[in-house]
Symmetry: C2
Subunit: 85 residues, 2 copies
């Protein structure tokens, strides 16, 4: 069993209003050190696959087919093996 940790972010050329609003709110709270905020999605998948490579393949095609919008978003997949108890 493998776990895929997927981060999905808006491409840098795309305006991120949610991040802008959060950055503004942090500024109001006194977080002057925070220069920019961008917000994306984080998806954890548990994948039943025989090998690390096959789990990565499943996770990447799930991103392409459903999880990410490839026109405006980038995704990054990290696979870790879950050790059975």
């Amino acid at each position: 069993m493998f776990k895929a940790n997927i981060t999905i972010t808006l491409r840098t050329s795309i305006l991120d209003p949610q991040g802008k609003a959060t950055g503004h709110a942090l500024g109001e709270l006194g977080y002057k050190a925070v220069q920019s905020v961008r917000i994306g999605k984080y998806v954890e998948l548990e994948i039943d696959a025989p090998t690390h490579a096959e789990a990565a393949l499943v996770a990447k095609s799930a991103c392409q087919d459903l999880l990410a919008n490839s026109v405006m978003e980038d995704y990054h997949v990290e696979i870790q093996e879950l050790v059975a108890n």
Copy 2:
């Protein structure tokens, strides 16, 4: 300048309807290997701080004050240094 990569996830005891719906949709698309899906938020902060430790402190208090709901969510912060061009 540092970059904080923050993942915010629902605690495992909390039901994640968005993850359940996505898992169901992946099943319909034929992703039988995907056993479970949980969805969270991903936040990237650019923090102007003198040291790694101070950047981590800023990111963690931003999570506590605004980004995460500490009753139902857990957060994980990773700090990396941005090399100036």
